[in-house]
């Protein structure tokens, strides 16, 4: 019998999408192991979150509530998760694949003297043993691990089907006392700057027009933006384009950028490095426009155009506008 504990992160009083993914993965794992699924919620007021976690599959919720926990601060959250884990004694802790989860997972593992695996993209149970799969070497290979003892698992974003809340599910709520002083927050978030990027959030976009080093400069990205706008989509970029300063780093897609899952991904002047492709594994259809017929992006693409994008883009934009009746 194993105990599975899921960190269910929240934002503005509701569980995040990453939290529902973690609860989905946790529920499936607990069922496969015949284990109970516990979740931990951390907030100033946890009542609604605890009920939401139960609706999303948790059998028991450890609720760490304290007025000091009104806003995410990493040091306080690590302490809260540690307190909940001490109460739950889990064999496995699943942590969300968002930026908070990325910093919490290794720190929690250290405090629990547990092992750690991050970016886990698949979970399987064979003969009672859990096999954790994650991409390595920039997505060029997949590695499968088993744990010899307790382990903290950082989940890869958008790889695990989110739990669908079921009204009427029942579960138990356990309050966890946390005595911390604000002094504990050695690192404090002072201000959040949300990027308002022409409406559609990259992560939510159905269509993404992405550019790379081949775009050649910031002006070229204006044309990509115009196309994205007319398609009702968003603009994305490779690390090379972000590093060149042509677009904001928040547009970066890939292993160290956004993980996206649009219906249509149009990659223009992007070579298709494995670290870039790691961010678009969930894209349904990939279109590549690249002047190099041997560019690796064509291995991932469904449709490809081998050309200088400058000779293609204006006409493509005009044609699509005509088709869309714009």
């Amino acid at each position: 019998m194993q105990n599975v504990l899921v960190y269910a992160g929240a934002d503005q009083g509701a569980l995040t999408k990453s939290a529902r993914e973690a609860l989905g993965a946790g529920r499936r794992l607990a069922d496969a192991l015949g284990a109970t699924l516990a979740a931990v919620v951390v907030a100033a007021d946890t009542d609604a979150l605890a009920q939401e976690a139960i609706a999303c599959g948790a059998d028991r919720v450890y609720a760490v509530a304290n007025p000091i926990l009104s806003e995410y601060q990493p040091d306080l959250w690590v302490a809260a998760l540690e307190a909940a884990a001490r109460a739950a004694s889990p064999d496995v802790v699943l942590i969300t694949g968002d930026t908070a989860g990325k910093e919490l997972a290794p720190r929690l593992a250290f405090r629990l003297r547990a092992g750690i695996l991050t970016e886990v993209s698949a979970v399987a149970v064979e003969g009672g043993t859990v096999r954790w799969t994650r991409p390595v070497y920039g997505g060029k290979a997949m590695a499968v691990y088993t744990a010899k003892g307790p382990v903290v698992i950082g989940l890869r974003a958008r790889m695990h089907d989110p739990a669908a809340p079921a009204e009427g599910r029942r579960g138990e709520v356990v309050r966890v006392e946390l005595s911390v002083s604000p002094e504990l927050a050695a690192t404090r978030i002072v201000e959040k700057i949300q990027q308002a990027l022409g409406g559609v959030r990259l992560e939510d976009a159905r269509i993404i027009v992405a550019g790379g080093r081949g775009i050649g400069g910031p002006e070229g990205f204006k044309d990509l933006e115009a196309l994205a706008r007319d398609l009702g989509g968003a603009v994305g970029a490779s690390r090379a384009a972000c590093d060149a300063g042509w677009v904001s780093a928040s547009l970066q897609i890939g292993q160290t950028g956004a993980t996206v899952a649009p219906d249509l991904y149009i990659a223009i002047g992007i070579s298709g490095a494995s670290q870039h492709l790691a961010g678009i594994t969930g894209a349904k259809t990939v279109i590549a426009i690249n002047k190099d017929p041997d560019a690796p992006i064509f291995k991932r693409a469904t449709l490809g155009v081998v050309a200088d994008y400058k000779t293609v883009l204006p006409h493509l934009h005009a044609e699509l506008k005509r088709i869309l009746g714009k």
Binding site: R111, T118, A186, S250
Partner: protein, 244 residues
């Protein structure tokens, strides 16, 4: 890839500095330029060939280079690396700022930095794009968060894990510095020099399989006499496939 050891075969390939470590070093060098009197020490856990990586750090104007290695450390995981780094930093007398890459390009993902902060018992800020200011025992940094940025204030000493930003693209070394780098001394430390906890060096995980996923991909190349013709054909296919 060696099917037996499930490890990559290095062959004749040279070791290079990890991509995000280069961005971290760039941030360190810029801080040194802004704060005269500060010192940049490059530390790497690795065997003799790793000297190449430290020489690169010297060429990029790091002031000191330290390589830590013990022949018994064949298969360290990132928690073990963080433990060794922490003990090394303590042995060297500590640091105000410890910079690491946000994640390594090979196996592990973002574990060393935060674990190192825990090991050192100091503050930690992750996925830092810019160090805006360091003053009076505090650093103000700009970090990535989901959907944007956050300004974060962190008490020193602190571990920062660095991400790429247009302000920290690694510079190219000057020829003069490259030449000098070849002659600079690299300090080496081993297990006997450090106060290590053997329990933290043993990996609690077992690698049971490593494989290269098959790329099925069948790409249909759109033909056409010129750009406009290809564009029209692509638009038509996108419409036929109901993709727009």
């Amino acid at each position: 890839m060696d099917p037996a050891t499930k490890r990559p075969v290095q062959g004749s390939a040279k070791l290079v500095m990890d991509s995000y470590a280069e961005y971290a070093l760039e941030v360190a060098i810029q801080l040194k330029e802004k704060h005269p009197g500060s010192k940049v020490v490059a530390i790497c856990v690795g065997d003799k060939p790793t000297d190449d990586v430290l020489r690169r750090a010297y060429a990029l104007t790091a002031d000191e280079a330290v390589r830590v290695w013990d022949p018994a450390w064949a298969d360290l995981d990132s928690q073990a690396v963080a433990h060794i780094l922490a003990r090394t930093i303590q042995k060297l007398g500590g640091a105000d700022l410890v910079l690491t890459g946000r994640e390594a390009g090979d196996i592990e993902r973002g574990v060393v930095g935060p674990t190192l902060a825990e090991e050192l018992g100091c503050a930690c800020a992750t996925i830092v794009a810019r160090v805006e200011a360091v003053e009076g025992g505090t650093a103000v940094v700009r970090r990535e968060v989901d959907g944007g940025y956050a300004l974060v204030s962190t008490r020193l000493p602190a571990v920062l894990t660095i991400t790429n930003d247009e302000t920290n693209v690694p510079r190219l070394p000057k020829v003069k510095d490259l030449m000098m780098a070849a002659r600079k001394p690299i300090t080496t430390l081993g297990a006997a020099d450090l106060d290590l906890d053997p329990a933290r060096l043993a990996s609690p995980l077992e690698l049971v399989d490593l494989y290269i996923p098959v790329q099925e991909g069948q790409c249909e190349i759109i033909e056409g006499d010129d750009g406009p013709a290809k564009a029209a054909a692509l638009a038509r296919r996108l419409h036929e496939l109901k993709l727009v």
